[in-house]
């Protein structure tokens, strides 16, 4: 999309609103950053009203700060050192409490300052900030992305399990009682179908809790909900799933009440996991990502179980 037009009056107003004069940021530089942000946000050229509304919704002060840092303003950089760098390191420590993500924060910090050059020109990573979120959130997101990328690249280097281990696993699978295997398979299918029927947000909440093992508080912060709301929604969602599963077993699978009870019991009794992927259990990413569930989960109780 071509850069949308920005008239001088609007630019001056946004420049003032962003308090860009604190960093002596030229109007033109700020205007270029606004245009780039708008160019990325709209697929078609917006009209003036749409454009103004969009630009007004941006985190303008942070955008001006990032612009000024990219331009090499000492005052702006000093502000970043004071206000944002500590938060960046705290985020790194939260990702990996053993300090393993500190080097990521260091390299990001260096890139923000612009240690890398392209065509002989210093390139600051701040140029990739377009003001659609706060700078603090953006920094956390970029750090998280790099951490995940690094874990993925490490995983590619890990050796595959040897043959003996694979044989042992297959033997374990085959020794499981056939009736239970059938009931478990039926339950899995019914649960998968029930989950697929949920609204995306409910599904997301569920996977955050069960797959990613986030605490209620973390889910709440990620989704912009209160912890108690998350708990309530999870309880409701589980109840919905259970109802759907029971209906499905009775209707589509034509199971009797006793067989349905067997299905539930087969899942509840725990002679070992039946999921081959789970038995292989070799998800270094999942295991590394799933750190300890913080204390607030315990304080939150059983999340409406």
């Amino acid at each position: 999309m071509a850069s949308p037009p920005l008239d001088r009056a609007l630019l001056a107003r946004l420049h003032t609103k962003a308090r860009a004069d604190r960093w002596a940021l030229p109007l033109e530089s700020f205007g270029a950053a606004l245009q780039e942000s708008a160019r990325r946000a709209f697929e078609k050229t917006p009209d003036r009203r749409q454009l103004e509304k969009y630009l007004d919704s941006l985190h303008l002060e942070d955008l001006a700060l990032a612009c000024a840092c990219a331009e090499g303003s000492d005052a702006a950089w000093e502000h970043v050192i004071r206000e944002h760098r500590p938060a960046l390191y705290r985020a790194a420590d939260a990702i990996d409490p053993t300090g393993g993500a500190r080097d990521l924060a260091d390299s990001l910090y260096a890139e923000l300052f612009g240690l890398t050059e392209r065509d002989g020109e210093r390139r600051s990573h701040f140029r990739y900030f377009h003001g659609r979120s706060s700078l603090a959130t953006w920094l956390r997101a970029v750090l998280a992305q790099r951490h995940v990328d690094r874990l993925r690249s490490r995983r590619r280097l890990d050796p595959l399990p040897d043959d003996e281990a694979a044989m042992a696993i297959s033997a374990a699978v085959t020794t499981v009682e056939p009736a239970r295997a059938r009931y478990v398979a039926i339950m899995r299918g019914a649960i998968a179908a029930a989950v697929a029927l949920l609204a995306p947000r409910d599904r997301l909440r569920l996977t955050c809790y069960y797959a990613q093992e986030l605490t209620l508080a973390q889910i709440g912060r990620a989704l912009g909900e209160h912890e108690a709301t998350v708990s309530r929604h999870l309880t409701r969602t589980r109840r919905t799933i259970r109802d759907t599963v029971e209906r499905d077993l009775a209707g589509r699978e034509r199971l009797s009440a006793a067989e349905i009870a067997e299905c539930f019991a087969s899942v509840l009794d725990d002679p070992g996991s039946l999921d081959v992927a789970d038995l292989l259990g070799s998800d270094p990413i999942g295991k590394e990502l799933v750190q300890d569930r913080s204390r607030d989960k315990e304080t939150s109780g059983a999340a409406g179980r």
Binding site: A110, Y128, L289
Partner: protein, 390 residues
């Protein structure tokens, strides 16, 4: 007959297994299909248009890749600060001094009151102290010096105990900080002399006014009070002692910039020493780590075992490092410490032009590196530290 609870538990367990299994079976990632940091941040801040937000939510609900990114991101989110209840606020502000004063008065009234001893003339200092504390018991007459009258001692001691208790913690903190201060200074002054520092290489480049300011921030930490950087409070108890001290007249000009950079490094270093800093090399099995802020260890089996490197040629706090290859590692630290190894085990100290605190390093091999100071200044070498440019 199964109870409802059992069925709920069955659902709970099945969800945990089946959804957990999704994490283990990740499809290959294709560029452009997934969320990037910018969109995730905007979604999290609620800054997206409703249609964009819905689209992202739908993608997140079914994409294990992006769920993992979201999970890591969610773990970095700072806990929300809840405001203190009103009752707690006014109680803390008013009840503590009121209760203290009431207790003091009660002890004053209840303490035994022995008969006055023969009068004695206090010294000038004693007179001053007593006039403030016990004017109604002043002894007026005689001339000969004598030990202070014992009549008010139990009360004074009791009163002193009571009055001391609310501020005890503060007094102890100040005492501790005062004790720490010379120690810290001694550490800093001892550091350059304790380690053999190679002769400072010549620094190329022109110093501008802004660079001078940054240089002041790096090299001349001052002690002016400053209310900023509140986020770092827990990590810098030592640094917070600084503003309570009187400002030395010798360096009043560096001001806020100097202090913040200084505080940053203090906090940075203290955090660094708390947990080992791991430095990964491009080879997944080789890595180094800074232990206790001053020792370096190497692992050649992906962190399973660690082996101490040969004794470092410099003593001081090490902050971070970077390894461009399996045998090369650069490490920087406070007071201009730059170390490099080309064989993975023996570190040599690289000359650095200024004794400033270094917080970041990037390197491409054992000769080319760029370091950054706490004040944001960059120094680059292309000959393993023989020359540095800015």
């Amino acid at each position: 007959m199964q109870r409802d609870d059992d069925r709920d538990r069955a659902i709970d367990r099945a969800l945990r297994e089946s959804l957990g299994a999704r994490v283990t079976a990740l499809p290959e990632m294709h560029a452009g299909e997934h969320l990037d940091g910018e969109r995730l941040a905007a979604w999290s801040d609620g800054s997206l248009r409703p249609d964009e937000a819905t689209m992202i939510e739908r993608h997140l609900a079914d994409c294990a890749h992006c769920q993992q990114l979201l999970a890591v991101f969610a773990r970095t989110s700072p806990p929300q600060v809840t405001s203190e209840p009103l009752w707690r606020r006014w109680r803390l502000q008013w009840l503590v001094p009121i209760a203290t004063a009431a207790t003091a008065v009660a002890i004053w009234v209840a303490a035994p009151r022995p008969q006055p001893a023969p009068a004695a003339l206090p010294t000038a200092a004693q007179t001053g102290e007593r006039e403030t504390a016990q004017t109604q018991h002043r002894i007026a007459a005689p001339a000969e010096p004598a030990p202070p009258a014992p009549s008010d001692q139990p009360r004074e001691k009791a009163l002193a105990r009571v009055l001391r208790s609310p501020t005890d913690a503060l007094a102890k903190k100040e005492t501790l900080e005062r004790r720490e201060e010379p120690k810290e200074r001694a550490d800093e002054s001892a550091k350059p002399s304790a380690s053999p520092v190679p002769a400072a290489p010549q620094l190329r480049g022109v110093t501008t006014a802004s660079e001078n300011a940054a240089q002041t921030a790096d090299a001349a930490p001052t002690v002016q009070g400053n209310a900023r950087a509140r986020d770092e409070k827990p990590a810098r108890s030592l640094a917070e002692a600084v503003p309570t001290r009187p400002t030395p007249p010798a360096a009043p000009a560096a001001g806020a910039a100097g202090r913040s950079a200084r505080d940053d490094v203090v906090a940075f270093s203290s955090r660094r020493t708390a947990t080992p800093v791991e430095i990964a090399s491009p080879n997944a099995s080789t890595r180094w780590r800074i232990v206790g802020g001053s020792q370096v260890e190497r692992s050649t089996n992906a962190g399973a075992d660690w082996q101490a490197t040969t004794p470092l040629p410099a003593t001081g706090v090490l902050t971070t490092g970077m390894s461009p290859s399996a045998s090369v590692c650069w490490i920087v630290g406070r007071a201009g410490i730059v170390l490099v190894t080309s064989d993975g085990l023996r570190f040599t100290r690289v000359a650095f032009p200024e004794p400033i605190d270094l917080v970041s390093v990037t390197a491409t091999d054992d000769r080319h590196a760029t370091v950054m100071s706490a004040g944001g200044r960059m120094f680059r070498t292309e000959d393993q530290g023989a020359n540095w440019t800015r």
